[in-house]
């Protein structure tokens, strides 16, 4: 893992050095899939385990960035982003299940003695349609939910609770076998994607590469948004919504736009997560997952673009080490981490680094 290294390096760094470190991290990330293709006895070879783990964390980093767009910039704390992530994942999973089952029905449907595909599975054997679903399912849900929530001027903690309820409702719905998404077990036992074996090193490398690209694109998009007038309107909205309305801006449209964009980014991250991890089940929609995403953002530093990425990397890096070393204590540690950040690091790790810079 390269996160601890990056931390100490940026601590001593000015913005220029930070850019260098960022470039270096990107280079390492781009090199990893290539190194994973080396023969197993080569000392530079990156194992499939490491590649999958880092790929997974990168997907989480995209979620953190998407959440930061709505929370850090627009002040809307969503505790339901796991739902959008899972929806993207399920859409991808549908395609993978169809690939695995060929002309037959997916195995779990046969167990339920269903004889034909439900209508919403139609077309999922095509990759392009599955990709459309990856964008449309979270996007439309966010659009409808956001439209009504913002129209009714639901804000603050009420908004957070509603998003939490939404993801919980989603989880309960997907737990049911009758919903047609594999119930409790979700989707697993994938075989191939676009005709390539899903566990083949080449496929893994390409998926990893795609994840890095999505992260870079999301970062660029976030950066452009934050620098545009749109970004400033969001900040204004967060700080003084009334003032903004009396300036002649309609906050609803601005909120809706960034909300849907964020949901779609989460869906895309979920779609890349599923083939790398090899499973998607309703557990991804559990409220704790979404809360954990908020912890990443808070820990890294909200309202910045790098902060959430750092947060997602640090927390998940620690998690994968901790859950192996001291499996029982991980949740205590996570809780303690959140308390410490809330009490002593209101601006997150990024705030700490910036403070060091100023001294």
């Amino acid at each position: 893992m390269n996160q601890p290294l990056m931390l100490t390096a940026t601590q001593k760094a000015g913005p220029k050095v930070t850019a260098w470190v960022g470039g270096l991290v990107l280079l390492v990330l781009l090199a990893m899939p290539l190194l994973s293709l080396l023969p197993a006895d080569n000392s530079f070879q990156v194992s499939a385990y490491t590649l999958t783990l880092v790929g997974k964390i990168l997907c989480y980093a995209i979620v953190a960035l998407a959440l930061d767009l709505v929370w850090g910039y627009a002040g809307l704390l969503s505790l339901g982003h796991g739902l959008f992530f899972a929806l993207g994942g399920y859409a991808m999973g549908m395609y993978l299940m169809r690939q695995a089952s060929g002309d037959e029905l997916p195995a779990f449907m046969t167990f339920l003695s269903w004889t034909e595909l439900p209508w919403y599975w139609v077309g999922t054997e095509h990759f392009w349609w599955a990709m459309c679903l990856v964008v449309l399912a979270p996007g439309l849900l966010a659009l409808v939910f956001g439209f009504f929530a913002f129209r009714s001027r639901i804000k603050g903690v009420y908004f957070s609770i509603m998003t939490q309820a939404l993801t919980f409702a989603g989880m309960l719905l997907f737990f049911r076998n009758e919903t047609g998404f594999g119930g409790n077990n979700g989707f697993t036992n994938f075989r191939s994607i676009l005709g390539f074996g899903i566990t083949e090193p080449g496929t893994r490398a390409v998926l990893f590469f795609a994840t890095v690209m999505l992260l870079v694109i999301s970062l660029f998009l976030g950066w452009r948004l934050a620098r545009s007038k749109f970004g400033r309107v969001l900040t204004a909205l967060r700080d003084a919504e009334n003032r903004l309305m009396f300036c002649g801006y309609d906050p609803r449209g601005f909120k809706l736009f960034v909300w849907v964009l964020s949901a779609v980014l989460c869906g895309l991250a979920g779609a890349l997560y599923v083939p790398q991890v090899g499973i998607i089940n309703p557990g991804e929609m559990s409220p704790t997952n979404s809360i954990e995403a908020a912890v990443w953002v808070a820990l890294g530093g909200r309202g910045t673009l790098i902060g959430p990425l750092l947060g997602a990397g640090v927390v998940n890096g620690m998690k994968s080490w901790f859950t192996v070393a001291f499996p029982e204590y991980w949740l205590f540690f996570l809780g303690a981490l959140f308390i410490i950040v809330t009490l002593y690091l209101p601006k997150g790790v990024i705030g700490l680094l910036k403070k060091k810079d100023e001294q």
Partner: protein, 281 residues
């Protein structure tokens, strides 16, 4: 008892919509507000009640084009509620509210009212604290304020010049790049006034604009408002009688949700009922 209710100041030669070639950059600019009869704001028979308490009670008020009107009145007289009604924040249970001759304020949302040309300064200075002074003015600027326009917006030279002018006017040129949250209370007041100027509204509602200002700042604000009157219509709610005396040619006294007296400051100060209300005799 003498009746001090005056006719609104009428000036039919002045047409706010067409006579002012207001700097307008976007399609949201009003296509000439109809102020045929010289009245920019008409409130007639306005009543607002909160749980049976009548915050406004059959209120009648007319503001002429280019007029500078001061509203005074004891606490709870309904001054802020009246501003809420005008800006669409509160809906009246009865009565008529017109902007110009044709815009029915009761049917419009807060955003529509702001875009139609009514600007409001809050009692507590409200600026975008995380943004710089310059950015605060940029956001307030009269332009297309839709989502798509904001995504692509770039400042033109003209717009930058206009922001520079306003920065000069409110004397914050040297603080242009500072976060607005770091400004002093008085500076925030000026920034908010500056934001109103950027919006270029036809009617400005100012709720206690000189609260927390030093004497020098108050004096400067008085000058500023006097220079704005004529080009804009202003409605100022203020407790500072010295300030009111310095700017107003016309004063309205509110009491218990309706107009108690109207006229020049000397006239209303001499009014028995006003003295009674203020001194509680």
């Amino acid at each position: 008892m003498r009746n001090v209710m005056l006719e609104p100041i009428l000036d039919p030669n002045k047409d706010a919509g067409s006579s002012r070639d207001a700097i307008s950059f976007g399609q949201r600019a009003e296509p000439g507000l109809n102020t045929r009869h010289g009245t920019i704001l008409t409130l007639e028979g306005i009543s607002v009640s909160f749980d049976g308490f009548k915050a406004l009670n059959n209120l009648n008020l007319y503001i002429g084009v280019g007029e500078l009107r001061c509203i005074i009145g004891p606490n709870g007289a309904g001054k802020t509620t009246m501003m809420d009604v005008i800006t669409g924040k509160t809906r009246p249970s009865e009565g008529q509210a017109w902007f110009g001759e044709t815009l029915d304020l009761r049917q419009m949302s807060e955003v529509q009212i702001a875009q139609a040309g009514i600007g409001r300064k809050f009692q507590k200075p409200t600026v975008f604290e995380a943004l710089s002074v310059f950015e605060n003015l940029e956001l307030a600027q009269k332009t297309d304020k839709s989502v798509w326009a904001s995504l692509r917006a770039k400042l033109t030279g003209e717009q930058k010049d206009r922001i520079g002018e306003v920065l000069d006017t409110i004397r914050l040129t040297h603080s242009a790049q500072r976060p607005a949250g770091l400004l002093s209370h008085g500076q925030k007041q000026f920034l908010e006034i500056g934001m109103l100027l950027m919006q270029d509204p036809q009617l400005l509602l100012l709720d206690e604009p000189v609260a927390g200002m030093t004497d020098a700042e108050t004096e400067f604000t008085a000058e500023l408002f006097k220079s704005l009157a004529g080009k804009h219509s202003l409605m100022v709610v203020e407790h500072d009688m010295g300030f009111v005396g310095a700017i107003a040619d016309h004063v309205t006294v509110l009491h218990q949700g309706s107009v108690l007296a109207e006229g020049s400051l000397e006239q209303v100060q001499a009014d028995e009922r006003v003295i009674e209300v203020y001194l509680g005799r």
